[in-house]
Symmetry: C2
Subunit: 346 residues, 2 copies
DNA sequence: TTGTAAGCGTTATCAT
DNA sequence: ATGATAACGCTTACAA
């Protein structure tokens, strides 16, 4: 793999490396003769010259690359989760449009701080987006931000870290509204299956919102009604079966996400139960397949692609030195009503 | 964002930069005194020293980064496709285990050659995995490989490009077997909905396999039976409705992928048709949700995570200078029978 | 056992 | 209008 250097271009064009740089970067006010410019351009073309990105980064101090940090447990997460890939796409396309590359960094329990720190400290990236970081990740993220490193935290509305720019959906509020939808339909015994362990702030938020709604309706939530999945539809099915087995008399389910909901629905069908007659269901995320569930799933709509784009756009802005004040954006999460909860309020 | 340099470490430890480098890299046979080593290590720790990756790359000629190239059309593809994210995860985790980062590069129709070429020519990456490249992408991929650039092509078994290492599933054979499953069940009028336009070799292969099976059974395939989707469940539903509207009397569907199948199933349910009684369906991919469809979807099982891991492992091996001969691996695609085609052969 | 110096490919500041 | 030269942070012969 031989690559041409600016030196070779200079030699071929009979000029100095400086001139090559001036021509190729269109440096203004340098009064390069048209003749010279042509010669340099021709030489570059002939040699297939492309500037070396590493040398450029070293000299300029910028890598034109950002990092995307995301949680990742045991293959399951990024493997099965439907939100992340779309977020990633949003981030990537937005960055691409501005000439930035994105470095993808799944973060598992095993290597908590190391990977990220290294990414930042080794000067490999100019900015970082952390998607749904856990509590444990937050201390060094906050440090990095404190040192002036451009950082966007997406999806964990932790307080007391005013250094970091953040974008959030109000998961708690959305979960409350999801539950209220069920309540308004007349349901009183409502189950919740969290989509993961609750050391992720996001799952805790949804659980909290669920409880908020129940409490506001003066309803006790029986511990037998809540269960924890692990992102997969399978865990949703198992949780549903467990809840059914406890014969807790629940008539509705607020699923922590749509994948969980799909699993629960399958378990219900297998048990010969009807949706929504025996069990009304609302999900969360509005994954592309949600509208194609049987029956079509009522769910809270998130916009991963848009959110990824916005996170990237915000990061780009910060890196460009605009927007000095710490921003804390809240996204809106609408309820989209389909058929999994039946027709209208009782 | 201030970062410590090896120079500062050297100063603090009262040694030269060379010594710092020797100590930190554990260069053997250099006989560094334990006392000195300790002092250097302490200084590095105290300063939070992390070597600058760009400088390191420039000096060593290696970036410890690979690129992942993938097709991408109009948001739809990476946004809705269920295969890619899992492949990506497999690639990333395998690379991570070897200390490699991965640069994610979606490639859309608009910027065909540019993005990839630049990635390679700018020396930003040490190797490249191209996932399902289109015919058009192949010429420069082949060039890069010809220049000795480590490259794995996954999923487009193009011939006449012996420079490139490739991994493939035999899509044509798999599609044939999927169709044969339907045939064995007694179906004669079988529809196919391709999951994308057929300038992707992979969708052409599946179409070809479908035709192979039909032809082997001495069956004509009516043009009214085949339709083209665009990755989305929605396009699957539309295609299904179109096929139904042509009242072509088909009794079975081989869907180009599972997402398409989900859409088709929804359209069927809406039309009051029963699966599998009115329409038997086999999909392709075995996405995580396939087993949770209503009814559970019979489909061809791909293993995106494993395939991604293997592609990465192979690339890593090539970059390490092992395996000189061009490898062309074929993966196996088993049929997994669930309930969307009914019980047993007629 | 440790230090000096050259080189990796750029850009940028000066002279000329 | 163009060309030396230094600087970016590191590795690695080679010297001492």
């Amino acid at each position: 793999m031989k690559r041409a250097t600016s030196h070779q271009v200079a030699t071929l064009a009979n000029v100095s490396r400086t001139t090559v740089s001036f021509v190729l970067n269109n440096v203004p006010g340098m009064g390069i003769s048209d003749e010279t410019r042509e010669r340099v351009l021709a030489a570059a073309r002939q040699l297939g010259y492309v500037p070396n990105a590493m040398a450029l980064s070293l000299a300029s101090g910028a890598t034109q690359t950002i990092g995307l940090l995301m949680p990742h447990d045991d293959q399951v997460h990024a493997n099965v989760d439907a939100y992340i890939p779309r977020f990633l796409t949003g981030v990537t396309l937005t960055c691409q449009a501005s000439g930035y590359k994105v470095l993808f960094e799944p973060l598992n329990h095993a290597a908590p701080a190391g990977a990220c720190l290294n990414l930042v400290d080794s000067g490999r990236i100019d900015g970082l987006i952390a998607l749904n970081p856990r509590q444990a990740d937050f201390s060094y993220l906050n440090d990095a931000a404190g040192n002036g490193f451009p950082l966007i935290v997406f999806g964990s509305n932790l307080t007391g870290h005013d250094n970091v720019h953040s974008i959030d959906a109000d998961n708690r509020d959305a979960a409350r509204r999801a539950t209220e939808h069920l309540l308004a339909l007349g349901h009183r015994r409502i189950a919740h299956i969290a989509f993961a362990h609750d050391d992720y702030p996001i799952v805790r938020e949804r659980l909290l919102g669920f409880r908020d709604a129940m409490q506001a309706a003066d309803l006790e939530v029986d511990p037998a009604w809540v269960s924890y999945g692990n992102y997969s539809a399978q865990s949703g099915a198992e949780s549903m079966r467990a809840i059914l087995a406890r014969s807790s008399g629940v008539t509705a389910l607020f699923a922590g996400n749509d994948t969980i909901a799909f699993g629960a629905m399958a378990a219900l069908r297998d048990a010969g139960l009807s949706i929504p007659d025996d069990m009304a269901i609302v999900g969360y995320d509005d994954i592309p397949l949600a509208a194609y569930a049987a029956p079509p799933l009522t769910t809270m709509r998130t916009e991963p692609f848009t959110e990824g784009s916005e996170a990237a756009a915000m990061l780009l802005r910060i890196m460009a030195g605009e927007s000095s004040a710490r921003a804390h954006v809240k996204a809106i999460v609408p309820l989209v009503v389909r058929r999994s909860c039946g027709a209208s309020p009782t």
